[in-house]
């Protein structure tokens, strides 16, 4: 009897413990989701407000309490933003600089990273330390002498200072690609070498195809950096005809300080391509971050 009673008690107690644990587990889940939803809403509000404002006529802007869904919807802000600045010309300029940089950066960085990761040669590690060291140099230190170099080349007032330097690589992207290349098994290179492949062939036929996620990260970062760049075009571009979107929008912002509707419409037009690009590439992008040394 005694035996059976203890046997009866144990499962009962453990099931209540389990129930308690399960309850705790569920409570914790709810708290986690609650925190995420609240924080997510908080961080989305600026975007929603941006979109909402971009569809408001001037008299709708200052209503209290704030109106989230404009009534009526003022679509006119978008045409106004497109015509207040030569939007498509600036877009074209921005795309030229951006794509030039993406292509040139991919070529130069993928090559340099190969030299650092896949070939062993004396001085390689010392140079790699130098490369890491250059990451710590603030742009403001080299800004003025760089300007003087470009001035002596006669490049001020052209897009050249914003494009051609990309062929000389970027320390951070070289570092990132090197970390990725290091994860590719050496046996692949060794096998190719036995088959008589040159380093350039190994780079082109083996390493590059296997590095797509990392290359995608570099391409995406380069795209964003150039699309968003404000200081570079501000320093080097002279002619209004050469302006990029960032500069054009800045001009619009300082001219039309109170035209919030068209301003927000213009900001939407600048943000939208970046968001669309991220949506289509996010899987590769996240994979690239996960697989490269970026996470340390």
């Amino acid at each position: 009897m005694a035996k059976s009673s203890t046997q009866a008690v144990i499962p009962e107690r453990s099931s209540s413990v389990l129930r308690g644990l399960r309850f705790q587990h569920i409570a914790r889940r709810i708290a986690a989701y609650g925190a995420l939803v609240v924080l997510g809403a908080l961080f989305s509000i600026p975007f929603l407000w941006l979109f909402s404002t971009s569809l408001k006529a001037p008299e709708q802007l200052f209503r209290l309490p704030p109106e989230w869904i404009p009534n009526p919807v003022a679509w006119g802000n978008y045409p106004r933003a497109l015509t207040a600045i030569p939007f498509f010309l600036y877009l074209q300029n921005t795309l030229y600089i951006t794509f030039f940089n993406v292509v040139a950066t991919l070529i130069s960085c993928s090559l340099a990273a190969y030299g650092f990761a896949r070939i062993e040669w004396p001085g390689r590690n010392a140079l790699f330390v130098v490369l890491l060291g250059t990451l710590m140099i603030p742009y403001s230190v080299i800004q003025i002498p760089q300007f003087l170099i470009f001035r002596d080349l006669g490049w001020i007032g052209t897009t050249n200072p914003l494009t051609w330097p990309a062929f000389f690589g970027n320390a951070f992207f070289i570092f990132l690609l090197r970390q990725f290349y290091l994860t590719i098994p050496q046996e692949l290179s060794a096998a190719a070498k036995i088959d008589g492949a040159s380093e350039l062939q190994i780079y082109w036929r083996i390493i590059l195809p296997l590095s797509r996620p990392a290359l995608a990260v570099v391409a995406l970062f380069t795209f964003m950096n150039n699309w968003n760049d404000f200081v570079g075009p501000l320093i080097y571009l002279g002619d209004r005809e050469q302006y990029t979107l960032a500069i054009g929008l800045y001009g619009f912002l300082s001219r039309a300080r109170t035209e919030w509707g068209p301003l927000m419409a213009a900001a939407m037009l600048m943000i939208a391509p970046i968001i669309v690009l991220f949506f289509f590439t996010q899987r590769t992008f996240i994979q690239g971050i996960t697989l490269t040394g970026l996470k340390g």
Binding site: R29, A32, L36, L39, G40, F43, P46, F47, W49, L50, T53, F62, P65, P66, S108, L111, A112, Y114, G115, I119, E120, W121, G123, L127, L131, T134, L135, P138, Y139, V141, I142, Q143, I144, P145, L148, I149, P165, F167, F168, G169, I174, N228, F230, V231, L249, W260, L263, A266, A267, M270, I271, I274, I275, F278, I286, I289, T290, L294, K295, G296
Partner: protein, 258 residues
């Protein structure tokens, strides 16, 4: 190949395989190496030299010794202000950013549903172009008609001048910076997902609760990443303070200059 192997036995002579590897290696890094000399090393040295001269870019520099440093350290009113602002960001704003990034990454790492959705929501602000962010925030923080002050009013709280008030300009910039915490979050989340599962299993066997696991397993495992993100945020921050924002700040501009 065969000739290489036979010649390798004579160590006195130059090793052709090694020479070839060196040439190949140098060729691959050559574009970067040239860029390093022309666009980085030379400018750094030139800046260093110019720092001892009086130079207005148009007429040639004249040597003045340590004059510039003396002016900077003793009579330039902006220098110490700039140093203190920089320290303020480095010691307060960036760690705050990382802390929130880490907190949200830890939340997302508890195997929540809709991970991709939440990750996107938190990451998006960090890729918004500076100029667009400046436009957006100067509207949100508009003293009279901005949403932030409207909400404060709705809650019967006192409103603030934000970017137009010197005392609030810096906190405003910290707030705007916080909005972009997603960049470090994505990297921290990637690091969290890489912590080997068996470490947690052995912690379970030892009877660790989730706090113990976070403190003794997760954090030590991702410490290098925390430092990396801190460092990259720092170097990024020193390089780019969105200029539109500082000019938006108007008369508060002096207080936020770096």
């Amino acid at each position: 190949m065969a000739s290489t192997a036979t010649r390798m036995r004579a160590p006195q002579r130059p090793n052709p395989a090694l020479t070839r590897r060196t040439i190949n290696g140098l060729l691959f890094v050559a574009p970067w190496l040239i860029g390093l000399c022309v666009f980085t090393l030379y400018p750094v040295l030139a800046s260093f030299y110019y720092s001892f001269t009086e130079y207005d870019i148009i007429s040639p520099p004249t040597f003045t010794g340590l004059d510039n440093y003396q002016t900077l350290l003793t009579s330039d009113p902006l220098f110490w202000q700039a140093v203190s602002n920089t320290l303020f960001y480095a010691m307060l704003a960036i760690p705050l950013n990382l802390l929130i990034g880490l907190g949200v990454a830890l939340l997302l790492n508890t195997k929540v549903r809709g991970l991709a959705f939440f990750r996107t929501v938190f990451f998006l602000p960090s890729i918004v172009p500076d100029i667009a962010a400046a436009m957006l925030w100067s509207w949100l923080l508009n003293p009279q008609f901005g949403l932030v002050n409207a909400l404060l009013k709705l809650l019967q709280l006192p409103t603030v001048g934000w970017l137009s008030d010197p005392a609030w300009a810096k906190p405003s910039l910290v707030l705007i910076g916080l909005w972009g915490f997603g960049g470090s979050m994505v990297i921290l989340l990637a690091a969290l997902q890489d912590v080997p599962q068996h470490l947690y299993e052995s912690a379970d066997i030892d009877g660790a609760n989730s706090w113990h696991k976070t403190w003794h397993v997760t954090l030590p495992m991702i410490t290098p990443t925390i430092f990396l993100t801190w460092y990259s945020a720092l170097s990024l921050h020193f390089n780019t303070l969105p200029p539109p924002l500082s000019s938006q700040a108007g008369r508060a501009g002096r207080q936020v200059r770096h």
